[in-house]
Symmetry: C2
Subunit: 433 residues, 2 copies
């Protein structure tokens, strides 16, 4: 299950599609609730709770940063078999808050434990006590500021009171809006697939738009399915698909302390037992999961700070995956490439520069470069019919596909990014609340 | 001979000093000549020749890029003991020009060989034939364009005719101006020192201002001394001092195909024979060379595209040089850090982010961060008397010194960069000739 690199994606069509939201409806075993805890000076929903009344199997991937937020530390310590709740707050990243920040989560988890256990007692025939260490946290916002423990704690009863057992598109939209920081658009997507003959839903929401004012953008991605899959299978599926989706996007090369992508399966659909992610019955699910992750990733890039163009960089026929990835990101993270694209300037020399500085050995005589289907370099030489005006015209579009053919092997990698504009500087330099 | 990291440099004073040019005068054994070969549409000197009538010992360091220009390939092939001439052209990088670009240099070298040999016959008592493979080339400008062989070749006689054996500040300035591309200011510097009791001059010129319109900026640095030092000693001295000078600066993290720093010693001052760079008699020269290289490097950063602030990043008390360097460059290359500084925003959270994403293990409880002498983080905690307004006020200055104390070891590294402004985007996105 990799992206079809031979056929450049029609990102133009994709972008216009991304303007629209997919309507997410009910998914069995997931409840959502949002409140305004006044974490911002201007009221908005800033606390989002996911509640799995019968628990959910789960897996997560976290930031590669050597400095991680307190909630990531908390999540890494969670060893329970099933997760009961996920609480996400915006405005404060709970990073660089030290032991106090961690203690805050413990207090909040205890409050959630008490309130959700109470709810179980009221609503369930066989109520289960919900423990603090069955709760995950997502945090995003400013780092280094005191974590608003009391404001959050005091809103937990209200958050739980609002929980309904049937979800509709409105509550999903509220959840997607509730986890945003400076994102301009909520990010939601869904796929339907099958495991064996059972129909399965995969829903996802995400936030992120480059690294963000006032401190940093966190990428958060949460995937929900009604399939019945073990933690081990979820973990393997997530790891397998994250490299070509959430780990294939870059806005400015900066990495948050708080990045987190999780998948939850409620097991409400009793599909056959799956022990191996390569099981043929998993093909449809695997593809749909990749699609959900990729769609969310692309939405993040398309909403990148100051972005006017969506850039796809395909590195093909590389000796190794790693070589392809390094070259793709060397281009995707180059300010010079990204400003040239912002300026609609067919300045392919900067792409050559970015390939060179990647440190990967290439054979210049075999290198070919295309912009969409326009040939620029063919086997190390400027294409005989190369017309700068043709490329310049192509670059006026809002989706730019760049293809680097190394002609050295069989491995491919695609990275996604956006252009670098004055608006990015404005957002990151000129404004501060 | 390292930079004094305990004492933050007064970059403010330095910057104002950099506005002034140092006057370079005569240096024995070096001749300079410049012409306009009409490589630009608007006439300006674009060809600069250095001629060493008795040859010069030399050493060079080149770009680390995996794609190098034809002149770098040429230079790497030069094995002669003494260099007779260095020719630098602007406007065309002779990169991605293939075998034709290389052949062009051969033709030009032959023409220089003929013309300079003629000059030797006319001027010298013991004339020596000057060979094509005793000539080095520096090229900077657009890549992928046909190299202007004929224009350059045809101007060689004029270039050589203009050679004078006594140099003055005017011709040095012309040389510094003649190698510029989009630099706003010429870059010249000098130091005087001693080897034993002999007075020695070290002169240097450079160009570079970030990666440059229309394709990429090349960093060129040329150092000249009248000392008598072997190729081996020159090479060791250059390598020793380049890491903390030319390799300690970054404008946008992009790397040219054409970078080149060379040192030439004419041997006109008969200092004692030096076999070891750690020889006590070399201390003064070593220090002066470092100073010349550092001064030129800082001038490049200060002239960085769109720069309004000069940023010094000191990483101190690191376990290893490499750790310190990685953290320093992770901060120096972060768009978010650089836009925050452009916006005069004391957004130290972004520095934490950049430290984290460097991938280097640190101990957060030991980390201290200062802006100049203003404490921000002390041993992992926000400094008790931290006042954002104080830092905000400091950031209004044009030189920002950031110090990261890891408190883990004894190694230090200082990187130099500038802020990221809308002007950078304008230069790199909006203009094209």
């Amino acid at each position: 299950m990799t992206i079809n690199l031979g056929n450049f994606m029609n990102t133009q069509a994709l972008k216009s599609k991304m303007q629209d939201f997919q309507d997410l409806e009910h998914i069995d075993g997931v409840s959502i609730s949002t409140v305004c805890a006044n974490l911002y000076s201007k009221p908005r929903d800033d606390l989002v709770m996911f509640y799995f009344r019968d628990g959910a199997n789960y897996a997560s991937v976290y930031t590669q940063s050597k400095i991680v937020s307190e909630n990531i530390k908390w999540n890494l310590g969670i060893k329970c078999k099933k997760i009961k709740s996920l609480l996400i707050n915006t405005r404060n990243a709970n990073a660089f808050t030290g032991p106090e920040g961690y203690k805050a989560l413990k207090e909040i988890a205890e409050e959630i434990s008490i309130q959700l256990s109470k709810k179980q007692n009221e609503d369930e025939d066989h109520p289960k006590k919900i423990l603090g260490n069955e709760i995950l946290f997502g945090c995003t916002g400013t780092i280094g500021e005191k974590y608003p423990t009391e404001k959050i704690k005091k809103n937990i009863p209200e958050l739980i009171k609002k929980i309904k057992y049937t979800q509709n598109k409105l509550i999903w939209m509220k959840a997607a809006l509730g986890i945003m920081t400076t994102d301009l658009k909520p990010k939601l997507t869904m796929e339907e697939c099958k495991i064996g003959n059972k129909k399965i839903k995969i829903y996802g929401i995400a936030k992120g738009s480059g690294m963000i004012f006032p401190n940093m953008a966190t990428t958060l991605g949460y995937i929900f399915t009604d399939a019945d899959l073990s933690n081990d299978i979820l973990s393997k599926l997530l790891k397998k698909n994250i490299d070509t989706t959430f780990n294939a996007i870059t806005c400015d090369g900066d990495t948050s302390t708080n990045d987190m992508v999780s998948i939850f399966s409620t097991g409400k659909i009793k599909n056959s037992m799956i022990n191996n992610i390569n099981d043929k019955r998993m093909k449809s699910f695997d593809k749909a999961l990749h699609s959900v992750l990729l769609n969310l990733s692309k939405k993040i890039v398309a909403d990148g700070e100051g972005a006017t163009k969506f850039i796809t960089i395909n590195v093909i026929k590389s000796k190794s995956d790693n070589d392809a990835k390094k070259i793709a990101f060397s281009i995707a993270n180059s300010n010079l490439v990204k400003t040239a694209i912002a300026g609609e300037d067919p300045n392919w020399g900067r792409i050559i520069m970015a390939i060179g500085k990647s440190g990967i050995n290439i054979n210049l005589d075999k290198l070919s470069i295309n912009f969409s289907n326009i040939k620029i370099i063919e086997k190390g030489k400027i294409f005989k019919n190369y017309k700068e005006s043709e490329v310049a015209n192509y670059m006026k579009g809002s989706a730019i596909d760049i293809s680097i053919n190394l002609n050295l092997g069989t491995k491919n990698f695609t990275a996604y990014t956006m252009d670098l504009t004055k608006k990015y500087i404005e957002i990151n330099a000129d404004y501060r609340s």
